[in-house]
Symmetry: C2
Amino acid sequence: MNIIYKGKTKNLVESNGKMYCLFKDTMTGTDGVFDTGGNQVAGSKEGAGAECLKVSKFFFEKINQAGVKTHYLGADIDNNLMEIENCSVFGKGLEVITRFKAVGSFIRRYGLYTKEGQELNAYSEITLKDDNREDPLITKEGLVELNILSEDEYDEIIRENKKVAKLVKKILNEYGLELYDIKFEWGRHKDSGEVLLIDEVSGGNMRAYKDGKYIEPLELSRYLGL
Amino acid sequence: MNIIYKGKTKNLVESNGKMYCLFKDTMTGTDGVFDTGGNQVAGSKEGAGAECLKVSKFFFEKINQAGVKTHYLGADIDNNLMEIENCSVFGKGLEVITRFKAVGSFIRRYGLYTKEGQELNAYSEITLKDDNREDPLITKEGLVELNILSEDEYDEIIRENKKVAKLVKKILNEYGLELYDIKFEWGRHKDSGEVLLIDEVSGGNMRAYKDGKYIEPLELSRYLGL
């Protein structure tokens, strides 16, 4: 196996011409506290990688079935490996967030106009993956100006992000859970040029609640019966 | 004169059924240092109000002549008064920025993709006036979600902002000056409902340069021969 890229919670590896995400046991957070919005490695927990992979397998299979193209090809849970399509990211990586309830950075930015927990209509936004600048928000015009996305790519990614977010929301609802917000990443297939959902879809990507109580990222699989 | 609203650098006053901006000698900045991007009152300088009013008169008259509707009706420099149309702001106030060169908060946010002084194509963005949250950037979708602007209002304001920014850039060019970026405010006429350029148009709204050297806000009138 050749390590192509070392990430905070996953490595990108190549073996026999196939690409894989290797899920690690590290978790992100802020100042040592696990936190979905955090940008640092906050610590490590045995089994965290397998946990995120199990949940990702669960969601990617359902997302693929729903007709949204993803980089997911299969999962080898015992070895923490997810086989994936070979994709490149837009710019140096984007996070695309869809929000159903106002929490987290939305409140920190827009608290003058909204209050914690207010309903949002699948409001979506893009932030740049940039740890040194705390993942700044960027507008459609900004992404076009900096040659990161075309206008059409922006519209496609936002539209598909909302579609997948609503699907995950619906699935969670079936398990008695409520989705407040979720972030995804999108990439471009290196051969076909198609826009695909990439990265992972696990507890760390979303804020899910059960009867008003926040579900810790590593607890999600238990609620899904995995 | 009745004070309707006390601002950091201007008061809104009413007299005999007419509305006026009263320009004060206070200046905004950060931690006591004058700074176009600053949000606090950084100090006071005798004549600062008259200076900003003189420059605003100069630009508003040219902007009105160019056919863009503004709240400007006339100026009484001796009394620091600008007679204005009666307008309301959108939400609790917005700043609409058009940038021709990457400086200031644009670099702080997007330094991973751009460098100081890079040309920008009249890139425009809106921030919320909210001192407690450092005037956060907000997208079109965010403004619509929070019922601050409609999609059409957003498009109109961005289009007109670029138009006025380009006009100011052209005027400054005639005086050998270069405009890097500029911020405007827009409001709605309380009777006609029309969208008008409001607030002021002075050195404090813009970053202007002469032969690569930044022009302090209160120095601008001298370069314009006012």
